[in-house]
Amino acid sequence: MSALAALLRRAPAGAKLAALAIAGTGVMAIADWRVMVDLALLAALAFRLAGCGTDALGRQLRPMLWMLAALFLVQGWLVDWATAALVVARIVTLVLLAALVTLTTPAEAMIATIERLLAPFVRFGVDPGRVGLAFSLALRFIPVIGEEAERVREAQAARGLGHHPLALILPLIVRVLKSAEDVAAAIEARSGHDDPGRAAPSRSVW
């Protein structure tokens, strides 16, 4: 494990989130596209040095490629190519730094930090526990929903409906809502939340 990897994995989640916030603000102040591109390359290098691997780097950037390409072309056409490079390099840097923090921080530590940060807002009705849980659920269920979407797409493709967006979106929404109901019941059952009678009035529980 490299020194950077060890440092990132040992550093407290709060320090990493603070560093990310400072870095995020800092890159907005950079106006030279060459410096920004260098920073993006440095972020990619840090990604590798932190032991996150080239695969993870690809997973972070691949879904964004079309958007980045479109952004680059639009900015280049409407403003100039230097600005286009600056904007794209900035987004890549921010995404890689955020992914670096997420991948090197256990969700439990991240959630504990979020709960600590939100503690002063309890008096305004904010429930840090619930926000932390929501954060955890997002991390947990993004890949699950992706898998559900793939199952629906395959099922619809088998019926000859593979390319119709509604054929994917509507069943996916129904499945996600059904799962959300079950997840809520499971959280209640496991955490002992005092919410009797939150009956899920669904035939599916039979």
């Binding site: 439990e108 991390l139 019941a185």
Partner: protein, 260 residues
């Protein structure tokens, strides 16, 4: 023909890749002693205008209770009454003297619930983090929580998967994690809602072995008749009523007769 799955060999769980074998839990929780008595008195429940349970009165005291019935017969709804996930429209459910309508927190500490789809029950990204979730509200210190997670990982042979993404587990491993996530809070009774529905034969047998090895009371809703054939008592549901309440052999025979 009904076979007792508990007499069958109980191989370890296989990972998605088929390379990781997870042994049976080494030892049950020493604190668990089983819920003494669950009383269901004159319970009826309906969803909108549809009656789902009709005037059910039954007392559960056995350590292994199976619940079978056709789809839509009300068995899963009945199971959800037992730890207060549902409160009946009419009647009472009392667990060791605690009414699910009033003492919901205490009831949920006593009665854990394992859902049919473990994907919906696992709420944290990694195995160890998910196990720790159930302990959060118990007022335990960080070190104590970590110790309990370590013990539970060891009990279920999940140590090697502790930091693995829950998403990447096989179906059997997910169900095992879901069970461990419930057991870590040391409930006296665990209700299982069709725990083997989505599993292959090997993992079904393994989960059957896990349930058989529990020191906790187990109430199992299932369509898998092998799973409950060695139980103490089996209830058969039909159209919202208990139509048979007997030994497994007699209750299953009645169920099969009704299914013809």
């Amino acid at each position: 023909m009904i076979h007792s799955s508990l007499q069958l060999p109980r191989p370890g769980l296989q990972s998605a890749a088929g390379s990781t074998s997870v042994p049976l839990p080494a030892a049950p929780s020493p604190q668990a002693s089983g819920a003494g008595r669950i009383e269901i008195s004159a319970v009826s429940h309906r969803f909108t205008d549809t009656p789902v349970l009709r005037d059910i009165t039954v007392t559960l005291t056995e350590r292994r209770i199976g619940i079978i019935g056709a789809n839509g017969s009300g068995k899963s709804t009945f199971a959800r009454l037992l730890n207060g996930l549902l409160v009946p429209d009419r009647g009472r459910v009392v667990v060791d003297g605690l009414d699910t309508a009033r003492d919901i927190k205490a009831v949920r500490r006593k009665v854990g619930f394992v859902f049919q789809n473990p994907d919906n029950q696992i709420v944290f990204p990694t195995v160890a983090e998910d196990l720790a979730f159930g302990l959060k509200g118990l007022g335990l210190g960080r070190a104590e929580r970590a110790e309990m997670v370590t013990q539970m990982l060891a009990r279920f042979g999940l140590e090697a998967l502790a930091d693995q993404s829950a998403h990447k587990l096989s179906g059997g491993q997910k169900q095992l994690l879901a069970i461990a996530g419930v057991l870590i809070t040391k409930p006296a009774c665990v209700v299982f809602d069709e725990p083997t529905t989505a599993l292959d034969l090997r993992n079904t047998r393994h989960i059957a072995g896990v349930i058989a090895a529990l020191s906790e009371t187990a109430i199992v809703v299932t369509h898998d008749l092998d799973l409950i054939s060695g139980f103490d008592r089996v209830l058969v549901f039909d159209a919202g009523r208990i139509v048979a309440d007997d030994t497994p052999a007699r209750a299953i025979a009645e169920y099969l007769r009704r299914m013809q």
